[in-house]
């Protein structure tokens, strides 16, 4: 081949090779993917280099064996040695690192209880964090990572985590049983436990539950026409049952009339919308269970939705006389429901009491189709501390005139109707027996038909969780947080800051710059 063409080829080859190398870097930095384009550009780099060498092997030989090469290879060896030392030092530091939390609140340090739980782990726990690359979960992904890093640091090798994108690995996501972007599931061997929220207390709580897989059984009462926990119709509780099972609860049906005793392993008994009244015998069994520290969640609809007719309601009577929880003989008429859904019988849970059940509900409303009021009487059942959990808006009332509802002629009658805001649920707790009760004036809100309505799923699951005393598993020592607040600066202060930051400070720099330039020119 002629020398000139050869030279042109060589130069083209080396230029192509360098450009290909740069493109490889850029592609990888931007895409983070080992894809075809990357492979092609890497290939071009190698081929270009090879052509460059092949077209003039003599020059390459001189390059490789000349004096510069010998000095160069020395330098290379020393560089590799230096690099080796750095790698070892970094590795050792990475594996045996120490951390110092300088924050005043100690917000980057785990509580003593968490560290103790980590110490008592019987084996390796793997936390799988499912986050897509969507920007809406980006910030909670960052805080999840720093929280998980703290667990790894204090875990002494027993805690590991990995981030999985459910879009890219749907099999893993399904195996873990997640249904929300930004969830974490803990795995210990075969057992798994979902974490309800990405906070230290829920993460540690999930670890504790993972170590104590004793099944917590939730019994749904049957025999009175209650809706079933199986079947996929609108009028069943399958979504609720599935949610509970994914939290490692066992969900079973209980026919008290047949078995005549409360099972020993019952964590919570749920009475979900009986269409016929409970028998006296059942009520006294439940009373006995509650007296021994049991937990019951009652959801009872207004009379006209049931087949109670005029028969007495032993359950409601018992709730009123023993515990001071009154199920009103009314139906809630809600102006908010009327305004939002053109349905004045749709009671909307607008305000919540401060309680563990509603803590995370803050801005979400709940919806109860045809509900009755549930109020607390502090004079009765005083050994139970009661709270009216959910309130409607002020412009609502408890209508006692059932015929006006059928005729569509509802109006507020002072004296007979209950004035709003109406309480739709009551929680009760006995501090000595540790018994817990939650009573709702409606059962439809937890059925498949209304389960997905805003806060409905959260409130029923949280209520059952609370009743099962799950949140008591771990109590972290509260960190003393320093309350900081911004002192609202006056307009004149803000003006001063604006002036200082944008004019004075840069101005000083500009002036000194000009000054030094002038001084230099003067010196010549």
């Amino acid at each position: 081949m002629e020398t000139n063409t050869r030279r042109i080829f060589r130069w083209t080859a080396i230029i192509v090779s360098i450009v290909a190398l740069v493109v490889t870097f850029v592609l990888y930095t931007l895409q983070h993917q080992w894809n075809l384009y990357l492979q092609i550009s890497l290939g071009l780099f190698v081929i270009g280099l090879a052509v460059y060498v092949v077209l003039d092997p003599d020059e390459i030989r001189k390059l490789l064996t000349g004096r510069q090469a010998r000095y160069g290879s020395n330098a290379l060896i020393i560089t590799l040695a230096f690099l080796g030392i750095l790698v070892v030092v970094n590795y050792l530091a990475y594996k045996n690192t120490k951390r110092w939390d300088l924050t005043a609140d100690q917000s980057n340090t785990l509580a003593k209880e968490t560290v103790d739980v980590l110490k008592s782990l019987p084996g390796k726990v793997v936390a799988k964090a499912f986050f897509t690359s969507d920007s809406s979960v980006a910030s909670s992904k960052d805080s999840a990572k720093s929280l998980l890093d703290q667990y790894v640091y204090d875990g002494n090798g027993k805690f590991q985590y990995q981030f999985i994108d459910p879009n890219k690995d749907p099999v893993a996501a399904q195996q873990a049983g997640i249904n929300k972007d930004g969830s974490i599931v803990l795995f210990l061997g075969d057992a798994k436990q979902p974490v309800s929220s990405i906070t230290e207390s829920d993460l540690t709580g999930a670890m504790v539950r993972l170590m104590n897989p004793g099944a917590h059984v939730i019994y749904f009462l049957t025999g009175h026409g209650e809706y079933a926990i199986e079947g996929a119709t609108d009028q069943s509780y399958t979504q609720l049952a599935n949610a509970l099972e994914s939290k490692n609860y066992k969900v079973l049906a209980l026919n008290l009339l047949a078995t005549n005793q409360i099972p020993d392993d019952a964590s919570v008994i749920v009475i979900a919308g009986p269409k016929k009244p409970l028998a006296e015998a059942e009520v006294s069994l439940l009373d006995g269970y509650i007296k021994k520290g049991g937990s019951v969640v009652v959801m009872e609809d207004p009379a006209f939705e049931t087949q109670f007719g005029d028969s007495p309601d032993p359950l409601a009577a018992d709730l009123a006389t023993t515990y001071g929880i009154n199920l009103g003989n009314n139906v809630v008429v809600d102006a908010y429901g009327n305004q939002a859904f053109q349905n004045y019988l749709f009671a909307i849970g607008y305000k919540y009491a401060s309680h563990a059940i509603t803590q995370k509900l803050s801005t979400m409303v709940t919806g109860f189709q045809s509900a009755r009021s549930v109020t607390a009487d502090s004079t009765v059942g005083s050994d139970y501390s009661k709270t009216q959990l959910i309130l409607t808006v002020d412009q609502s009332w408890g209508e006692t005139d059932m015929s006006s509802i059928q005729n569509n002629t509802v109006k507020y009658d002072q004296g007979t109707d209950m004035a709003g805001p109406i309480s739709l649920a009551v929680v009760a707790q006995n501090s000595s027996t540790k018994a817990r009760l939650v009573v709702f004036g409606d059962s439809d809100f937890a059925t498949n038909a209304y389960y997905g309505f805003y806060g409905n799923s959260d409130i029923i699951v949280n209520s059952i969780d609370w009743a099962a005393k799950e949140e008591n598993l771990i109590n972290l020592t509260a960190k003393t947080t320093v309350n900081r607040s911004l002192v609202q600066p006056k307009a004149y202060t803000m003006g001063l800051i604006l002036l200082g930051s944008l004019v004075i400070l840069p101005g000083i720099i500009l002036v000194s710059g000009v000054g030094s330039w002038i001084a230099r020119r003067r010196q010549g």
């Binding site: 080992w34 924050t103 917000s107 890219k168 607040s485 500009l510």
Partner: protein
Amino acid sequence: MRNVWIIARREYKLFFISPIAYVVAFFFMILLGWFFYSALRDAIIQSTYQAYAPTVQIIISPLVTLLLFVMPAITMRSIAEEMRMGTMELLLTAPVKDWELVVGKWLGAFLFMLTLLAVTMIFPLVLNFLVNPGIDQGIFLSGYLGLVLMVASLVAIGVFISSLFNSQVVVFLLSLAIVLVFWLVRPASSSTGGLGTQILTYMNFIDHYMNFYQGTIDLSDIVYYLSLTSLALFLGTISVEIRRWR
């Protein structure tokens, strides 16, 4: 060691003479001032709805981004200029060792950047008066410590690249490119966690700052930045040495 100090002092003084440093510092401070002012305005609005106090992070966050772009501009001159002006040969014949030259240049630029950082501390100071009872000193301390370490390694990278080429423009662009690569490197999203993934994850420049940003000082982060600094200075020394034979 005395040589290092002599060279460093000369470099430091030169910064206050060169117009580039003033221009860079001017834009740096004016941009930072603007970010501070608007973040403050947002914080005022937010604090009327909920109990909220801005932390020193509203200053550090834009500061980091500005630094990443400013560093190549500050260091591009260091060795490339000497090469171009021909004073490099003079330096190389003086009884100055190669590593003393490189470290001296680095130290001079580093001290200049520390001066700039010290000037930026006026913003946390102002914030401290606007927050009751005061900003979290721990985050302030760890945040600025992390900045110092980051700046040390960025200056070192800049000095190293500056030793490779004579053209300041090439040095600036290449330094910027390398900093961006270190800033953005992540393992391939399809990777499964092998050794390559772990190495790529470790190499990310910004990830090692996150602990400092949140108030925690982590030994492995300190080791990372010191390693990067020493590696760049080492390679810079080798590069100057190689230049000798040319």
